[in-house]
């Protein structure tokens, strides 16, 4: 390959100006990751999202270490009573199991997608979205209970350190937003699966890319559960 051909990418790609040139320069025959384009981009997006959630959790760690008022005990704050004695963290435990179950159904959906099983894939994605929606519903219940019954605010709460409320609403709120967006994302892709869009396209890789996002939401919850609710 001549020096000129190296500079211009491959010989058969025309050099463009303007916006087309931007796309061309970034994409012309310079592939690093030998995976579908959408998958590499989703991974890079998830990497950036990792840093956002990490900043939130590290900020939470910092204000919790430096709080002089006692930190409210999550085990008691998030206890729920079903007629009898309050059971610690029970709602959070149920939410955790629901999210893991949805991750399982999503993994199965990806698998059936690559088997070109259109209907099973769509149904599994629909179940995943429903489980995600029920997770958001339980989170709304949890927020309502905390705000209305327990008087937790982003700037104060009756149990102790004021930073508890601000970090709680910020971290779980941002995660809940991700779950909500994920539900919409899954429904859009599931509809396309159902109508045979990916059969005509010839590949179900979009289902796997959507799956990556969904598993990431579950992954973030693993860290929130450990650091915010259990620690």
């Amino acid at each position: 390959m001549s020096q000129d051909a190296v500079l211009t990418g491959s010989g058969d790609v025309a050099i463009q100006e303007g916006l087309g040139g931007v796309v061309g320069d970034w994409s012309a025959d310079k592939q690093t990751f030998i995976v579908p384009w959408g998958k590499a981009m989703m991974w890079i997006f998830l990497l950036s999202d990792t840093f956002i959630f990490s900043c939130f959790l590290i900020g939470y760690m910092k204000v919790r270490i430096s709080a002089t008022d006692p930190w409210p005990i999550p085990s008691e704050v998030f206890a729920l009573s079903f007629g009898g004695d309050p059971i610690p963290l029970i709602l959070i435990a149920i939410m955790t199991f629901i999210l893991i179950t949805s991750s399982g159904t999503m993994a199965m959906a990806v698998n059936f997608g690559y088997r070109q099983d259109r209907k099973t894939t769509a149904v599994l994605m629909l179940i995943t979205a429903l489980l995600g929606a029920s997770f958001v519903g339980m989170q709304a219940f949890e927020w309502t209970k905390l705000i209305v019954d327990e008087g937790v605010r982003p700037w104060s709460n009756p149990m102790g350190a004021a930073q508890f409320g601000s970090t709680f609403f910020m971290i779980t709120g941002f995660h809940g937003l991700h779950v909500s967006c994920g539900v919409i994302y899954l429904l859009v892709v599931a509809k396309r699966v159902w109508t045979g869009f990916y059969d005509r396209k010839g590949t179900y890789e979009t289902v796997e890319v959507a799956g990556l996002y969904w598993h990431f939401v579950d992954l973030v919850w693993v860290f929130i559960f450990a650091f915010f609710y259990l620690w």
Partner: protein, 114 residues
């Protein structure tokens, strides 16, 4: 294995990991339910957390079957967060000690929020 058509693995591996995540989540919950304290509690929380995260990334997100170029590009950069965590832990301790020092010297009680 991973092919040009995408990731194809037997269903059973997903069911196994699914079950394993359930068991690990149950153990995590039991750490709180059994009211374990101190270093035992913290190390168990971290152990179950990293195991769950590892299985989700490796199997559900198919990272175990990806090429090394992608694995290092995605899993490498977050290691820098360890530095950030260390710095903020030191900073947090410093803020805490400064507050103890300053708040105890004030002739009045700092503003109480309601």
């Amino acid at each position: 294995m991973a092919t040009a058509e995408g990731q194809q693995h037997p269903i059973s591996i997903y069911l196994w990991i699914w079950g394993l995540l359930f068991v690990l989540s149950f153990f995590s919950y039991m750490v709180d339910y059994a009211q374990l304290e101190g270093y035992l509690r913290w190390s168990l929380i971290l152990l179950f957390m990293f195991l769950k995260a590892g299985f989700i990334i490796a199997i559900f997100m198919h990272m175990a079957w990806e090429r090394m170029a992608l694995i290092t590009a995605i899993l490498g950069p977050p290691l820098l967060l360890l530095v950030f965590i260390g710095l903020m832990a030191i900073e947090g301790d410093y803020t805490f000690l400064t507050r103890l020092e300053v708040f105890s010297q004030l002739p009045f009680v700092p503003e109480v929020h309601h």
